[in-house]
Symmetry: C2
Subunit: 405 residues, 2 copies
Amino acid sequence: MSRIVQKYGGTSVGDTDRIRRVAERIKETRALGHELVVVVSARAGVTNELIARARSVSANPNGRELDQLLAIGEQETCALTAMALQGLGVDAISYTGPQAGIFTDQFHTKARIRSINVKPIEKDLKAGRVIIIAGFQGINEEGEVTTLGRGASDLTAIAMAAALNATSCQIFTDVDGVYTADPRVVKDARKLLELSYDEMLELASAGSKVMQSRSVELAKKYGVVFEVRSSFNQNPGTIVKEEVAYMEKVVVRGVAVDKDQSKIVVSGIPDRPGSAARVFRSLADANIIVDMIVQNAGRQGVANLAFTVPQGDTERAVQALEPVLAANGGGQVAVQGRIAKLSVVGVGMKTHSGVAASVFQALADAGINIELISTSEIKISVVIELDRADEGARVIHAAFGLDKA
Amino acid sequence: MSRIVQKYGGTSVGDTDRIRRVAERIKETRALGHELVVVVSARAGVTNELIARARSVSANPNGRELDQLLAIGEQETCALTAMALQGLGVDAISYTGPQAGIFTDQFHTKARIRSINVKPIEKDLKAGRVIIIAGFQGINEEGEVTTLGRGASDLTAIAMAAALNATSCQIFTDVDGVYTADPRVVKDARKLLELSYDEMLELASAGSKVMQSRSVELAKKYGVVFEVRSSFNQNPGTIVKEEVAYMEKVVVRGVAVDKDQSKIVVSGIPDRPGSAARVFRSLADANIIVDMIVQNAGRQGVANLAFTVPQGDTERAVQALEPVLAANGGGQVAVQGRIAKLSVVGVGMKTHSGVAASVFQALADAGINIELISTSEIKISVVIELDRADEGARVIHAAFGLDKA
């Protein structure tokens, strides 16, 4: 008997018809004799609707109250899923995040899980029940509802799989796995059967929307092997784990495009120790995640810094930089909005030279200009013009032969 | 400084605009320096919507899961109301029923309050916060969410007022008080400024939809004085309390019509001890509330029983009676659907004779036939033809001069 954690995303439980289909699917798995814990998201669109309602009563809603409000989205689907299972004759019980003993820190709307008390769930599993848990939420020391950040139902599933020593963890979503590139952009993109945590992490941070980095990090930390697959068909998905055995040596695993970035250039900063630190400290204080930093010394003792930030943070970033430039004694800020980040990911890169050169060559052959470059052990990212991002993904996908198994 | 409990019903918090208006109103009361605890219902229609969703995934949803689901309606409005107040610069905090320490028994979907732990609320009141509580819900010993039955947000408010020793309790709704009759039916109906608990109870059970009997009973038990008033205007409402001082002796206080009843006649039951008991035991076992029972001995050792049940329970009542008739050795069941219950209520009746006679005379003068009669110390109810119910209310209202203050 295996112990399986499943997670169903917002489109999979998007209406009562779909909830009934998810229940059928859970029933099939249960019929195989497995112990089963299921994490559900809110119905697609509900969280945004609730946020809109919050904003219509208060310009800047308080985090505690926002969490109290947002938690109802998953509370609804978990109760409905349990009911649907009971309607199919399956013994099921729903738990909200607080009821599931998911204890978090105090940080409303982006709380981190501290510990999970699995005793009540273990007891219900022993009693033969299927457990349905509301994703995305927990409880803090004050007894207040907390939420874990957008997309964090995956996190609930991974954390539960770790806490319950699950045999496997299945992330059901509306795509049937992780592809070598976005199939809507690159038509011969291929589904990957296996992927390492590090590759998945780089793909996630490079703009592949399948899963949050944070959930993958947690899986890596606790060694939770998980499968990303579709709730709308029976296709096998992509299994993500620590070490991936390749049939042959694969260098590059996938290409990702992130169009949700802005490029910010800070020029004319006095080239003194601490100038750059002050720039990034001010952005960090404003809770803005900066990526792809490039610094170069300019002429006459001034330096230039370029980096990317999420598009939604652009304005706040510029505001955060103003006092720093004043304190640093000079400099200008320029924003370039119409850019994209194109990333090539693969653990094989660690031991292969020439990957960067191939990326640059492929783009050059297509006449695509590179504005920024950053590399990690298993990723190369370049910033290019937004309008040529999809074309860039296609030429790189072809250059590395990613369409061939 | 007074301590006030306010309750806002579903139409008062029906959308975010209305929630903002409720917040303005709460702010005004708070500005007078009062300590303030506010109980809110779900947005009008939401509970029915959730029940429909539950039924679409399961024909007979489990009580625990139904409560888990239904609780989100009030959780939403309480969080939004707290946010709206914060948006107006008022320090406010929301509590779900479980967070508010409302402990109930195990009976899902119709739980009864056992105790309330007011410590966290007292602490927040001391800190100057306005407390917003999700009505209709509590928590049982298992840590499960329970709900208190439809319309039970009033109950939460009355219970809170009792537990917190509130100076007053204001029930804000979409009508601006209790009238001598339904103003839509009787155009010269008059708003009552004061009413005793007993009169309110009889009016509630007689079909006046303003408040549940159960909430009034609780108010009577704990001596909670409450006011029923409109959230859409500033008119004073109706104050309900133990003893009402009348300027002059008033005999009849109001007329109520209940069109949601069916009449059931069980005829030809063998007239032996225990026959009637078996009939009503079977209905009680089916959890059907029976009203206006009339028994008469028929000819040749058989008896007839007539009574009314809520319309929605008619079919179940007939089913529950079948085995009883078989066991009793005979009898027939007949249902009469198109009836209404017309009630005349007033504490003055206790010491006045002739009220019943006046009621019967007024109806007879209008040519309205009476099918059943039942009386209490402060109420006379008659069953009449449904189509003549409104006319009956008008003639009785006029007969007792209820249009005159």
